[in-house]
């Protein structure tokens, strides 16, 4: 009997029908559990220590961003998008501005496209470094004594934030993209700073990887845990590293190129493991690939303008056409960040009529009821950490 995961596990299981050996216990994990990456509550139904049903409750960080998007003009939206996924603001800005540019038919100069590619890959590194630190922290005192790997990954993330600061003046909420290109041009010495930062990281990455993969406790806690089989991963709409760890070779950077990805080669990491360890492997491989892409591009940024439109002076400078709607998606560190944009809203079309954000983390969270069943309570944090959710993006 080899049932598909979808048929084997019922996320809406009626607990009255369960014939448990011991008494069932309901256990709330979160909303303020340190390993829930923000505020997420998962209600676990346990038979002994084995999970038989898991019900996640998102929404604690819901800020009504989609409603807000209907009241702010396109120019005002970029800083709002910084705050969705507060671990990868750069790619979030890009997702918004690409959606606006495609709806308006605005071309982006080649220099700006190269800069955006470099920024996206640096952001991927920063985001994955934070994930690596918190993931190994979640797994507990197994990696070199508690939090030490997290200290190292935060040390590596700092120079990346420093180069962002050199370019934009902000360490986090950058607001550096606009419709038609970028706001800030590359300052003197930036390429050298980026190269130094990449050299340091490239030299140290194998060390961090080795710390994990040679640790038998790490392997025991990740291999075979939190399996999401390929058909289920597709049905759930998992994207990015989570989907590629379930054996699907899909990466929008290569398959539906945006920025300058059509001019460079992207090697996509895929694993057939489908488990927590496969998601770890894919992200680690992506980090090496991002270092390679940044090093390849940083010396080849073409000269020219960085924005094809005149600089922003008023908030309602950009008007969206009425009656047009479209879906646009880019690959962020977490997967496919899509926007469904309908033009012709308030302020004579300067605001979107409707802007639906398709957050990759929300789809990853929806996998929890399937991935957790049959495992123990201690595996919850490992599986959750491996899916790399950011609750700001899940709840919006």
């Amino acid at each position: 009997m080899n049932l598909r995961q979808r048929d084997r596990i019922n996320p809406h299981l009626d607990l009255d029908t369960v014939d448990a050996a011991a008494d069932l216990m309901a256990l709330n994990m979160g909303p303020q559990h340190p390993s829930t990456h923000g505020v997420l509550r998962i209600k676990l139904f346990l038979d002994g220590e084995v999970i038989i049903k898991a019900v996640p409750y998102p929404g604690y960080l819901h800020r009504g961003v989609e409603k807000l998007c209907e009241r702010l003009t396109c120019v005002q939206l970029t800083p709002i998008f910084d705050k969705h996924d507060y671990v990868a603001p750069m790619t979030n800005e890009q997702a918004l501005n690409i959606a606006l540019e495609r709806m308006l038919g605005v071309e982006v100069p080649r220099r700006a496209r190269y800069m955006r590619t470099i920024l996206a890959e640096l952001q991927r590194l920063a985001s994955h470094l934070l994930w690596l630190g918190t993931f190994t922290l979640d797994i507990g005192g197994t990696i070199g004594g508690g939090a030490s790997l997290m200290m190292y990954t935060f040390r590596e993330r700092e120079p990346i934030l420093d180069v962002f600061e050199m370019l934009t003046g902000a360490r986090f909420h950058y607001n550096t993209h606009q419709v038609g290109g970028n706001r800030h041009d590359i300052p003197d010495g930036w390429a050298a700073a980026v190269k130094t930062c990449m050299d340091q990281l490239a030299a140290r990455m194998p060390e961090y990887e080795e710390q994990c993969v040679t640790n038998s406790v790490f392997l025991m806690r990740t291999k075979g845990i939190g399996v999401i089989e390929t058909p289920l991963a597709l049905e759930l709409g998992l994207t990015g590293p989570n989907l590629r760890a379930s054996g699907v070779d899909l990466d929008l950077r290569r398959d539906a190129p945006f920025h300058a990805y059509d001019e460079i080669k992207v090697n996509v990491a895929v694993s057939n493991g489908c488990d927590t360890h496969a998601r770890f492997e894919v992200r680690i491989a992506e980090m090496y690939e991002s270092i390679r892409i940044v090093r390849e591009l940083i010396d080849n940024v073409p000269e020219g303008p960085i924005c094809s439109l005149k600089p922003v002076r008023t908030v309602n400078q950009i008007k969206l056409p009425e009656g047009k709607q479209m879906y646009t998606a880019i690959e962020t560190p977490r997967g496919e960040l899509g926007t469904w944009l309908i033009g012709g809203g308030a302020e004579k079309g300067a605001c979107p009529y409707r802007l639906k954000i398709r957050p990759p983390s929300l789809h990853a969270m929806a996998a929890l009821p399937y991935a957790l069943v049959g495992h123990t309570v201690s595996d919850v944090v490992a599986v959750l950490g491996s899916l790399d959710p950011i609750m700001g993006e899940v709840d919006r």
């Binding site: 998102p58 819901h62 989609e66 409603k67 597709l234 899909l250 709607q325 998606a329 789809h363």
Partner: protein
């Protein structure tokens, strides 16, 4: 733009859904409008015969008109082999009801709950049609155009 749709797919869809996909002319770049009765059948055909197995999103939108409230539900799927997305729209009246895609796509569970929560479109036969983001005693549907952005919400009702 929806982008070029594979001619073989276009032809097969025209054969199966002759009223919706005309054999000639460009498809509506905003997304083909499909009658609500064909919503599930179209999703099933796309998933099982054309490889659109990746569930991307569902988007409900409120359009107030002179005749009354109307709603549109757009569904986006993607073919993971070609990376080609495909989307269509369903128009609904003042009492928005649409069949769920949950039996076909497990991801529709939460996505449809979110659209129910924020826009108030009811997905029929969904196993668990509760609010996803807002608290269960929330009044109204915030993404409807009639819901003022400064509507007070007091937690001690």
């Amino acid at each position: 733009m929806m982008g070029p749709v594979d001619p073989a797919l276009r032809e097969a869809l025209a054969k199966q859904f002759p009223d919706v996909f005309a054999a000639e002319g460009d498809l509506d770049p905003n997304g083909v409008v499909v009658p609500a009765a064909l919503h599930v059948a179209l999703a099933k055909t796309l998933k099982e015969s054309f490889g659109f197995t990746l569930y991307v999103s569902v988007i409900a939108t409120n359009f107030p008109t002179a005749e009354g409230e109307t709603y549109e539900v757009a569904t986006v799927l993607r073919n993971p082999t070609t990376a080609q997305p495909f989307w269509w729209r369903v128009r609904l009246g003042a009492d928005p009801q649409l069949a769920t895609l949950y039996p076909l796509f497990a991801g529709a569970d939460w996505q449809e709950r979110e659209q129910f929560d924020l826009v108030g479109v009811n997905f029929v036969d969904h196993p668990d049609m509760r609010r996803l983001m807002l608290s269960e005693d929330w009044e109204g549907f915030p993404l409807r155009k009639s819901y003022a952005i400064d509507t007070p919400h007091t937690p001690w009702r």
